[in-house]
Structures are given as C-alpha cells and as structure tokens.
C-alpha cells in the first residue's frame, strides 16, 4: 500500500485513541477533584496532568490560575493546542478523509460523524450537562471507531497500520496516566489502605477501565505494586503496556519490509521484557524512572516506524 495511505491510517487511529485517553485522564482528575481535600492538593493534581502532557508552558501562557474550567478549555476545546480533544478528533477525521477510499464507509461515517458532533460542543454547552457525560461520549465514540474498524475492515496491511497506531498511542498514554497518578498518590502521606487512598487508586483504575478487572484478578486490597503490575505487565489486560507492545510487535511482523528489521527487533525486545518482567524489579528501581524509560522506548519505536514505512522510501 501507499506509504502516505499507511501514514494517514496510522495517525487516524492514533488521534482517535489520544482523544479517548485525554478524556480518561481528565475524567479521573475531575472525579478526584470532587473529593474533600485541601485546595492545593487539587491544584497539584491538575498541574501534574498538564506537565505529563507537556502542556504546562502553554497553560501558563494562557491562564493565571489553575481551575478545572481552564484546564478543560485548553484540553478539550483549544484550537492551538495540538493535544486537545477538539484537535485530535479533527485530525482523526482529516486523516480518514484523506484515505476514505481505503477505509470502509462505516469507518468513514463514524469518524466523520464524531467530528461533526464535536463541532456542536462548546464550553458553554458543556456547562449545561455533566462534564462526565462528555467524557463518556468521547470514550464511546472511540469504542465505536475501534469496533467498526475491527468489525468491517479487511485484515490486510491497512488494518495492521491502524492497529499499530492504536496500540502505540495507548502504550504511551497508559504509561503517562500511571506516571502522573503514581507521582501524586504516593507522596500524599496517607498510609496505604486509607479511605482517600482507596478512592484515588480506584479512580485511577477506573480511568483505564480496570477497576472491575483489578477486583477479578487480585480479589484483594488495592496496592500500588499490584496496580503497576496490572497496567504494565498483565498482557490479558487490554490497556496494559504489555498488551500494547505485544500488539505492536505482532502487527509489525506482518508488515515487515526490507528495512524494518531493527524496528522489529526493538519492539520484540520490549515485548519480551514486559512478558518476562517482574513488578518487584520495576518497583525496586523506582516506577517513575521505569516509566521515563518506557516513554523513550515507545517514542523511539514510533520514530523508527515513521522512517521505515511511512516516510516515503526513496528511489
């Protein structure tokens, strides 16, 4: 297939996934902000979210103080912010538009429909409904996009690139969500097992649709190490890093070309280290340090995929 087509498919999937993850991240923060706590605690949480998304500079250029409304403005509606939900849904739609001959009509209609609806939302309109309803909407549109893709698209090379886009983006986002929460939650001072602690960890799990899963898998108290294990190493957990990298590696093998061997090797190496890794080792070295390395490796693989497949192969 055309390199440009692969590029559009890959980014279409990435942007849709990114929109979903922004919604998840904001949702969990918003839920946490509703709990009784000191004001500065909440501000710290929003600040950490902005930092982990690399948006703190842009934020302070635009606003003087941290409020949920401002954060929503920037992360949902801002047109200059390339990581706003508005921008992600638009970019997903633009990429789909460019390859509408390659994707199925259902995929196109779904992506186009999502964007058309997004244009109807505004900060004013959102103040009328519960903001969580909007986050739910984004999540469900993303579910729908993914379901339509899996349910209608021929599982050829084009499909592989959409899958690679989805899982690379999710690997990045799961790592970020875990990192921001972990940094915040651990130094919070309260002893493990306290009521506030429970709400915070359960909110984190809910943000990646993992609360029920946790219960099912561990049938025990929520502890940081188990949360990390679930979100990093459990390959049967669909949003875990291990699952994401397994999908990236498997799909990469199916589209391999004569210049992609090293990319495949690196993805395979990361897949193996997650498959055989132990959470104790990760925690001993420090979760944050580990996640910083993970994000760098995900970025490296993204760049290599762009070079091997998406950037035109020169004659």
């Amino acid at each position: 297939m055309l390199s440009r087509t692969a590029d559009h498919l890959y980014w279409m999937a990435r942007y849709m996934e990114r929109a979903e993850n922004i919604a998840r991240l904001l949702d969990v923060n918003y839920r946490l902000s509703l709990m009784p706590q000191p004001a500065d605690q909440m501000e710290k949480a929003w600040a950490a979210t902005l930092r982990i998304m690399g948006l703190d500079e842009l934020y302070w250029e635009k606003y003087d103080e941290i409020t949920p409304e401002n954060v929503f403005d920037l992360l949902i509606f801002d047109r200059e912010n390339l990581s706003s939900v508005w921008h992600c849904l638009r970019a997903a739609r633009e990429n789909a538009h460019a390859v509408r001959g390659t994707i199925t009509s259902e995929m196109w209609e779904t992506t186009n429909g999502t964007w058309l609806k997004m244009r109807d939302f505004s900060p004013a309109a959102l103040s009328d409904i519960e903001i969580s309803e909007f986050f739910e909407w984004v999540k469900y549109r993303s579910h729908l996009s993914r379901g339509v893709t899996i349910g209608t698209m021929l599982q050829d090379e084009a499909w592989r690139f959409t899958r690679i886009g989805t899982f690379l983006e999710r690997a990045d986002n799961t790592s970020r969500i875990l990192d921001v929460k972990y940094q915040l939650l651990l130094p919070a001072g309260e002893s493990e097992g306290g009521a506030a602690d429970y709400y915070q960890w359960s909110a984190l799990l809910r943000s990646v649709s993992a609360f029920e899963v946790y219960r099912k898998v561990y049938r025990d108290l929520i502890t940081p190490a188990r949360v990390a294990e679930l979100l990093l190493l459990r390959s049967d957990m669909p949003r875990s890093l291990a699952r994401c990298m397994q999908e990236v590696y498997n799909n990469l093998q199916k589209v391999a070309n004569n210049r992609s061997a090293e990319t495949e090797r690196r993805a395979g190496e990361m897949d193996a280290s997650l498959r055989f890794g132990r959470v104790d080792d990760i925690m001993r070295g420090g979760l944050h340090n580990y996640l910083v390395k993970v994000l760098a490796r995900v970025q490296d693989i993204s760049n290599r995929i762009a070079n091997d497949f998406l950037v035109p192969v020169s004659a």
Partner: protein, 473 residues
C-alpha cells in the same frame, strides 16, 4: 427570464402525461406530500452522513456543501436513448480521430476543413504531443458530453468535455439514493442499471496500458483531499479497487513511473489523472506545480505509462473548435452527424461579431475557454446595464467569445419550495473509449437549474441533480 415555450419531459402540450412517465406519475400521485417531504429530508441527511459533498473545504473542516438532489427522476425512453447513444459514440469517435490527427499529419488542416490557426494558435494545443503515439490512438478515454433537449427527439450538444469531466459519482450515488428511498419504484419500472460504471471504467483504463504490460497497475491521481471533486476521486478509486495517489506518492526513475509503498517502489502503468495538463509535470508545464510528478512527461513520451485522458485533449473541446465537430464527423467517419450542434457565432469573425453585438439581448455569450457557468452572459435574463458591460468586454477581446441563440432547454418537474414545478435540465452522459470499444452507461448525470426560469445548471451556480432513468424496451 421565462422561456415561454419549452419541452416538458413529463407532460405534453395538452397537459397529459407522456407514456414513458405514466408509471412514475401514477406512483407520485399516490404519494402523500408529507411523505415526499420526509423522504427529501432523509436524502439530505444521508448525503451529509456519507460525506457526499462538493465544493470548498474550509479551514474549519466544515464548509462542504451538498449538491441539492431532487427526487423526481428524469426519464428517457429506450428508443430515444438508442439514438442519443449512437450520436454520442459517433461524436467521441470523431473527436478522438481529430486529436490524433492534429498531433500527427494534420490532414484535416491540410484539407482546409478547419482553419489552421483555430488549432495551432489555440492555447490548449500542446506541441509537446506532436508525434507521440498513444495506446490505441485514444486520447479522450473519458468524455462527459453535455446534451440538452429542445424538442421531441431533438438533442443538442452544448459542450464536449474531454479533459477531466466530473460528475459520474453523483450519477451513481443518485441512483443508490433513489433505490434506498423508493425501492418499490424500481420493481414497478424497468430501469437500466448504472452500477457497472466502475468496472467499465477499469476495463477501459486497462485496455490502454502501454504495450507489453500484461497485468497493468492502474491508479487514480488526485490533487488531494482539498479539491472540490475529491469525493469523486476517492469514490472511483475505491469502486475500482485501485490506489488513489497524489503527485507526492509517485516518482519517475529511468522513465518508469513508480508509487511509494510500505514495501518499496511499485510500478504504475496507467494513470487516471484528475488534474489538468498544466499541473502534470513541473519539468514541462507549470514549474510551480506541486500536484504533479517531475519526469512524468518523459515516461509518457517513452511510452512507459498511459495518461487518461491524454495530454492535449483540450484542443478539441474548446468552444471555438466546437463549431467544427460536425465537420470532423464528416471528414473522419464519412457520416452525417446524428446529434445537432448549437448554431454558434464566433466573435472573432467580423460578420458574426456584428450580428452578436446587434442581438445581445437574445443570445447566450460564452468565453471560449470558460467553464462552470462563469464568464457568460444569458441575454434574455440580463439587465441593460449587464448587457452593456458585457458588450464592452466582447469588443475589447472578440477572440475570447462565442455566442449562441438562447435554447429553450427542456424542463422536468422538480420539487421546489412552492411544490412541484418544471425546471430546466441538461444531461451529461459519460462516454468511455478503450482500445477495443466505446461504451456508455445508459443515462448520465442530469443537472437541474433550481431557480425558476434559470438556464444555468452548474452546481457552482445553484444547480442540483436528479437520478436519470433510461427505460428498458
């Protein structure tokens, strides 16, 4: 302006329904108005959802417009279509022979049947094409010939679009929409199907692959997602199952065209290009073109790739050359033309210019190179001031204009705000010429001027479209 006397497609002068419309008319009279209104709204919603849109794609990603779709079909009886199709084949055959001739021996010029300067001084004449042999000697593989009806069985050709005619996707989508909205209509009438068009197009394109290529790779070349006809480009590529490429996806190496794929370069043999000659190759035509492919013309000259349509077809669909199409039919085919040409005054000729300037209020004046309904004067519909302004333009550059009598275009019942009323229509059938045969899909795209009395059907000027039925005998 109101044309007093025009042919109504559905009813005769006495007001009774013509026999080929009787089935539809009976059905329509049974339909409650609310149900019709409901169906029209449904059609609009569906076209939006499918993104079957046209025109400018604004910065906010929301400026796509729908071409209004009218749910009353235009119906053509079998015998009338048969004659029309024969006329279209004849015409396109002669036009292809003409294009081949002017880039080779120029016999028609030598015979004095067309003045040399009309061709050789024409801005659309491409000297780059002289002496180049194209597969099957076919130049206009896809032609969209605009036809209007004046009276019973009386068809006039308005324009031969031989460059990159568009609209066929609307022909196909309109039919799909009608079948979706009114499935039972199709069981009650014997309507010739149109959905084979993408297959016919692919076969036509494959038939003109460079010699020696047994399994040709075909692509559709688009200017990109921001082009007004992008929907159609993507649609046709998808329906044919071929790649939709942009100039940046192609490159030329050793006179062979390749596309950049995830598995490395892949050979390309036939390019159905939807960009104009001027933008094809920055090394030969416009240097600032970013839509084309550097070296494409070299590969074309070397016979390693086929461009559809060929470069240089514009010399045959120009409005000043239009006048000579009947002469081409006589010269190349030894036949009398089946379809009429509209009588045309050429402002470049002194006598004609005098006549035109004396009769502006009753004529239609067009720019020789104009398209899309721009740059024209419809005399009977214009104010005195508009006519005088246009007169000044003609006097300043008479070579740029031709004029024709205002035709009483036929009209077809159409849903408008006040209910059902006749509106003027034209027809663009699509003629496919491959190395073996000339093929047509029964019907074509019917465009309708939605404003009362208007004769301008272009979508850029408030025109809509209708499904076109050719009844099977």
């Amino acid at each position: 302006m109101t044309i007093k006397k025009f042919f109504n497609e559905m009813t005769d002068d006495a007001g009774s329904v013509r026999s080929h419309y009787s089935g539809y008319s009976a059905w329509l009279s049974e339909m409650p108005q609310e149900r019709i209104a409901h169906k029209r709204a449904e059609a609009d919603a569906l076209f939006h959802r499918f993104g079957i849109t046209f025109a400018v794609y604004g910065e906010d990603g929301g400026k796509e417009r729908l071409i209004p779709f009218d749910i009353i079909p235009r119906i053509i009886p079998a015998d009338e279509w048969k004659a029309l199709a024969a006329g279209l084949r004849q015409r396109v055959k002669a036009l292809n022979a003409f294009i081949h001739d002017v880039y080779h021996d120029q016999n028609i010029l030598k015979a004095g049947r067309i003045p040399k300067e009309y061709v050789l001084q024409n801005g659309q004449y491409r000297p780059e094409m002289k002496g180049i042999d194209v597969a099957g000697n076919i130049y206009a593989h896809i032609a969209g010939v605009d036809v209007v009806r004046a009276g019973q069985g009386e068809f006039y050709v308005l324009e031969d679009n031989l460059r990159v005619p568009s609209g066929v996707s609307y022909m196909l989508e309109n039919r799909k929409m009608m079948m979706r909205l009114f499935p039972r209509l199709f069981s009650r009438n014997k309507i010739a199907p149109v959905d084979r068009y993408p297959d016919m197009l692919l076969n036509t394109l494959r038939s003109v692959a460079p010699t020696g290529v047994t399994d040709p790779i075909v692509v559709v070349l688009t200017p990109g997602a921001y082009n007004s006809a992008y929907f159609e480009h993507a649609f046709l590529a998808q329906q044919m199952g071929v790649e939709l490429v942009e100039g940046q996806d192609l490159f030329v190496d050793d006179d062979q065209v390749f596309m950049r794929t995830t598995r490395g370069p892949q050979r390309v043999d036939v390019i159905y290009r939807r960009i104009d000659d001027d933008f094809l190759d920055p090394l030969v035509f416009r240097k600032d073109s970013v839509l084309g492919v550097a070296g494409l013309m070299r590969a074309y000259h070397a016979g390693r790739v086929t461009l559809c349509n060929a470069v240089g077809t514009g010399v045959a669909d120009d409005k000043s050359v239009y006048v000579f199409v009947p002469e081409m039919i006589r010269f190349y085919l030894g036949e009398e033309p089946i379809l009429n040409n509209v009588p045309t005054y050429q402002c470049r000729l002194k006598d004609d210019l005098g006549y035109v300037l004396d009769h502006l209020p009753e004529l239609v004046v067009k720019e020789v190179h104009g398209a899309g309904g721009y740059g024209m004067l419809v005399g009977p519909a214009s104010t005195k001031a508009e006519i005088e302004a246009f007169r000044a333009q003609i006097v300043a550059a008479p070579d740029k204009y031709i004029a024709q009598p205002t035709l009483a275009l036929s009209a077809c019942p159409t849903f408008v705000e006040s209910g059902i009323a006749p509106r003027h229509i034209d027809l663009r059938p699509f003629v496919l010429s491959g190395s073996e045969e000339i093929q047509l899909i029964p019907g074509g795209l019917t465009r309708v001027a939605l404003r009362e009395g208007s004769l301008v059907v272009n979508s850029s000027q408030g025109g809509g479209t209708k499904d076109t039925w050719v009844l099977e005998a």
